[in-house]
C-alpha cells in the first residue's frame, strides 16, 4: 500500500524540514561573531544545514534507486490498520492523562486496549488496568515518593 520509495522520500522531506526549522530558529539568535565569540545561533545553524544536505543526499539516492525501492513494500493495509489502532489508543491515553491524571487514564487505557485490540472480555481488561494503576501507585507514591499527575477523581477521594 505504501512503498518503500514513497516512505523514504517522505521521511527525507520531513527530516529536511526539521533541518530548515532549525536553521530558521538559529538565524533569530545570530550566526555570526560577537564580543563573546560565536553567537548562540551559529552551532545550530550549521547543524541544520548539515541535516538539510544529508536529507537531500538521501532523497537523491532514493530517486536513483527508484526501480528497486518502488517495488518494495513499506506497510500494507493490514499492518497500517493494526498500528493505527495502537497509535490511536496511545494518543487517547496521552490526552486523557493531561485531563484526568495518569492513574485514571491508565485504568481506562489498559482496559480499552486489552478489550478492543487484545480481544479479551472487558472485565479481564478492567482487572489488568486496575492492578497496573495500583501497582504504580504503591511503587511510585509509597515506595519512591514520586508523585504522578493526578486529576479530579483522586481529589474527590482525597488522594494527593
Amino acid at each position: 500500500m505504501i512503498s518503500r520509495f514513497n516512505a523514504e522520500l517522505a521521511t527525507a522531506a520531513a527530516t529536511a524540514a526539521v533541518g530548515a526549522v532549525t536553521v530558521f530558529g538559529a538565524l533569530e539568535y545570530g550566526i555570526g561573531w560577537d564580543m563573546a565569540g560565536p553567537e548562540p545561533g551559529a552551532f545550530p545553524f550549521y547543524i541544520g544545514i548539515m541535516v538539510m544536505l544529508a536529507s537531500g543526499a538521501t532523497a537523491v539516492k532514493t530517486v536513483a534507486n527508484r526501480p528497486v525501492l518502488a517495488s518494495r513494500e513499506f506497510l500494507d493495509r493490514h499492518r497500517l490498520g493494526r498500528i493505527g489502532v495502537f497509535f490511536g489508543l496511545m494518543t487517547g491515553f496521552v490526552v486523557l492523562s493531561m485531563l484526568i491524571g495518569l492513574y485514571v487514564a491508565t485504568v481506562v487505557y489498559v482496559t480499552a486496549a486489552v478489550w478492543w485490540q487484545g480481544g479479551y472480555k472487558p472485565w479481564i481488561g478492567a482487572a489488568c488496568g486496575v492492578s497496573a494503576a495500583l501497582f504504580f501507585y504503591v511503587v511510585l507514591e509509597k515506595g519512591f515518593q514520586v508523585p504522578l499527575l493526578k486529576g479530579p477523581l483522586e481529589a474527590a477521594f482525597g488522594i494527593y
Partner: protein, 507 residues
C-alpha cells in the same frame, strides 16, 4: 601498576550489603526489561534513572549498571528460547542459539551464552581496570579543541563504520544536536529554538527521547509484526550447566577473538550490536566449524555473546575517562552522571576516585551476580513471556509514559515521548541509526561548548583543530573514519585495476 591498589580501594567502596542488594534488584529488573519486548537496556535505564535522582551517586550507578548487565543477559534469553532478540545486540545470537535450543538442548544453549557473556564482560572490566587511569591521565592534557576532536571522532566513526547509510547517520546526529540545543544556551544564557512554546524553555530531556525512540518505537514495530511467541520450554539442569562449563575452554580461540573484537568496538563507539555482528562474521570466515554455523553450533553462540558483553562493558571506559559514551545505554548513564552533579571525563578520576573505582569494582561483582542470577531465574522469566502480548503490551506502554512523566513531572513530556515514538518507529523501519541521535543529545551541549571555546581561543579560525600533533591526529583520524567506506572502496578499486593489469601482462 597503581591500578591494583585503586581497585582494592574500589572494592572497599562497592562491597556492602546495601550495594549487593541493589545489584540483585538491578540485575533482576534488567533481565525483566531485556526479556520484555519494547523494553531494552537504554530505555530500561532511562525509566529507572528518575528514581535515582535522590540517591548517592555510587549506589545509583551500581543500580543502573547492574540493570544494564541484566538487560544484556535477558536479551540473549529471548533470542535463544523464542528466536526473538530482546535487544538489538542479541540478534546475532538467534542464528545459532535458537537452532541449538530447538534441537532439544536449551540448557546448553543458554549456558554457552551466559558463560561466554560473563567471560566477555570480565575481559572488558579487566581492560577498563588497566586502561582507564592511563586514558584519563592522557586526557587531562586535553583542552577544548582536543575534546571537540574526540567528539568529532566519535560521531565520524558512526558515519563511516555504522553500517547504515552515512547520510542517514548524519541526519540522526543532526537531530540529536538540534534537540540538545533547544532551551537555555549554556554559554550566553539566551533561550534558543523554543519557537514561542513555553514548554520548550527547559529543553528536551534525552530521557524522554530515549523512552520514546527505543520504547514506544519498538512497541509500534512489535504491534506491526503481529506478535506471536513460540517458545521452547527451558528447565535448567545443573548437570547440563556443569557439562557446558567443562566444554567452554575448548572454544578458547573464539572466546579471545570475540573479546578482542568486543573491546575494540566498545571503546571506539561502534557499540555492542555492531560488535556482535562483526564477531559472528569473523567466526563465519575463520572458524574451523564455519560450515556448521547457523545450525546450532556453540561457536555461533559464543562469538556474538562474548563480543556483545565485552563491548557493552568497554563502552563504559570512554564514558568515564573521556566523557564520550560508547553506546546508547552508556550515553543515558552519562546523562545520569551529569544529573547527579558529576562531571564525566578525566577530572572525575581526580575529583571522585571513590565513584570511579567503586563503579569499576562493582562491574566485577555485578557480572558474577548476573551470571548466577540469570541461570537461576531463566525458567521464571521465560514464563513471563508466555503472558499474551495483548495484555503485557498496554502495560509496557503505560510504563513508558509514566517513566517519561517522572523525568520532569511535566505533562508536556507525554506528548514529546509520543512524537519520539513515531520518529523511532520510522527511523527503525528505514534503517536510520538511533544510537547516534541519543549520543548527540547527551553530549550536544558539551560538544558545542568545546567548539565555541576553541573558536574563541583561535579567534574563529578552524585551523586550531590542526594546531598541534595531538589534536591534528584526532581530527585526521575522525576524517579518515568518516570517509572510511570511500577509502576502502578506493583501495579495492585500485587493487582490481592492478590485478587486472598484471593478469593482462601474464596473458
Amino acid at each position: 601498576m597503581e591500578n591494583i591498589p585503586s581497585l582494592i580501594y574500589g572494592f572497599g567502596v562497592a562491597v556492602s550489603g546495601y550495594h549487593i542488594g541493589l545489584m540483585i534488584i538491578g540485575v533482576l529488573l534488567g533481565i525483566l526489561v531485556g526479556v520484555l519486548p519494547g523494553l531494552g537496556a537504554p530505555n530500561g535505564v532511562s525509566l529507572l534513572l528518575p528514581l535515582t535522582f535522590s540517591m548517592d551517586p555510587v549506589a545509583a550507578i551500581i543500580l543502573l549498571t547492574s540493570m544494564y548487565w541484566g538487560a544484556l543477559f535477558g536479551g540473549s534469553t529471548t533470542s535463544i528460547l523464542f528466536n526473538i532478540p530482546g535487544e538489538p545486540s542479541s540478534v546475532a545470537t538467534t542464528f545459532d542459539g535458537y537452532p541449538l535450543a530447538h534441537k532439544g538442548q536449551p540448557t546448553q544453549a543458554l549456558s554457552f551464552a551466559f558463560l561466554s557473556a560473563g567471560f566477555g564482560a570480565l575481559v572488558g572490566v579487566i581492560v577498563i581496570t588497566l586502561l582507564s587511569g592511563w586514558v584519563a591521565r592522557f586526557a587531562l592534557k586535553f583542552s577544548s579543541p582536543e575534546f571537540f576532536a574526540v567528539y568529532l571522532l566519535a560521531f565520524c566513526s558512526f558515519v563511516g563504520l555504522g553500517g547504515s547509510s552515512p547520510f542517514k547517520s548524519m541526519v540522526s546526529i543532526g537531530f540529536g544536536f538540534s534537540f540538545a540545543a533547544v532551551g537555555m544556551d549554556s554559554v550566553s544564557g539566551s533561550l534558543r529554538l523554543t519557537y514561542g512554546f513555553d514548554e520548550l524553555l527547559g529543553g528536551i530531556s534525552f530521557l524522554v527521547a530515549v523512552i520514546g525512540l527505543f520504547g514506544l518505537g519498538e512497541l509500534i514495530m512489535t504491534i506491526e509484526e503481529g506478535f506471536e511467541l513460540k517458545g521452547i520450554r527451558a528447565r535448567i539442569s545443573v548437570r547440563d550447566v556443569l557439562k557446558t562449563v567443562v566444554a567452554m575452554p575448548r572454544y578458547w580461540v573464539a572466546l579471545l577473538r570475540s573479546a578482542a573484537v568486543g573491546c575494540w568496538m566498545g571503546i571506539t563507539p561502534g557499540g555492542p550490536t555492531a560488535a556482535s555482528f562483526m564477531s559472528y562474521g569473523l567466526a563465519k570466515r575463520f572458524s574451523k566449524n564455519r560450515d556448521k554455523l547457523g545450525t546450532g553450533e556453540p561457536e555461533g553462540i559464543i562469538s556474538p555473546e562474548t563480543a556483545d558483553h565485552s563491548a557493552g562493558t568497554c563502552a563504559m571506559l570512554p564514558m568515564i575517562a573521556l566523557g564520550v559514551p560508547g553506546s546508547a545505554t552508556a550515553a543515558v548513564m552519562m546523562g545520569g552522571l551529569m544529573i547527579w552533579g558529576l562531571n564525566p571525563g578525566p577530572m572525575l578520576f581526580v575529583e571522585r576516585p571513590d565513584f570511579v573505582w567503586g563503579l569499576i569494582a562493582s562491574m566485577y561483582l555485578g557480572n558474577v551476580v548476573a551470571v548466577v542470577l540469570v541461570l537461576a531465574t531463566v525458567p521464571l522469566f521465560a514464563s513471563i513471556l508466555r503472558i499474551p502480548f495483548a495484555i503485557i503490551g498496554p502495560i509496557i506502554v503505560v510504563t513508558c509514559f509514566i517513566g517519561a512523566y517522572t523525568v520532569g513531572n511535566k505533562g508536556f513530556d507525554l506528548s514529546l515521548a509520543l512524537a519520539f515514538g513515531v520518529i523511532g518507529y520510522v527511523f527503525k523501519k528505514l534503517d536510520y541509526p538511533i544510537a547516534p541521535l541519543v549520543l548527540a543529545m547527551v553530549i550536544g551541549d558539551k560538544a558545542e561548548d568545546a567548539f565555541r571555546q576553541s573558536m574563541i581561543m583561535s579567534g574563529g579560525n578552524l585551523s586550531i583543530f590542526w594546531s598541534n600533533g595531538l589534536v591534528a591526529t584526532l581530527t585526521g583520524g575522525a576524517l579518515i573514519l568518516a570517509f572510511w567506506p570511500l577509502i576502502t572502496a578506493g583501495i579495492s578499486r585500485v587493487a582490481t585495476v592492478i590485478r587486472g593489469a598484471s593478469d593482462r601482462e601474464v596473458a
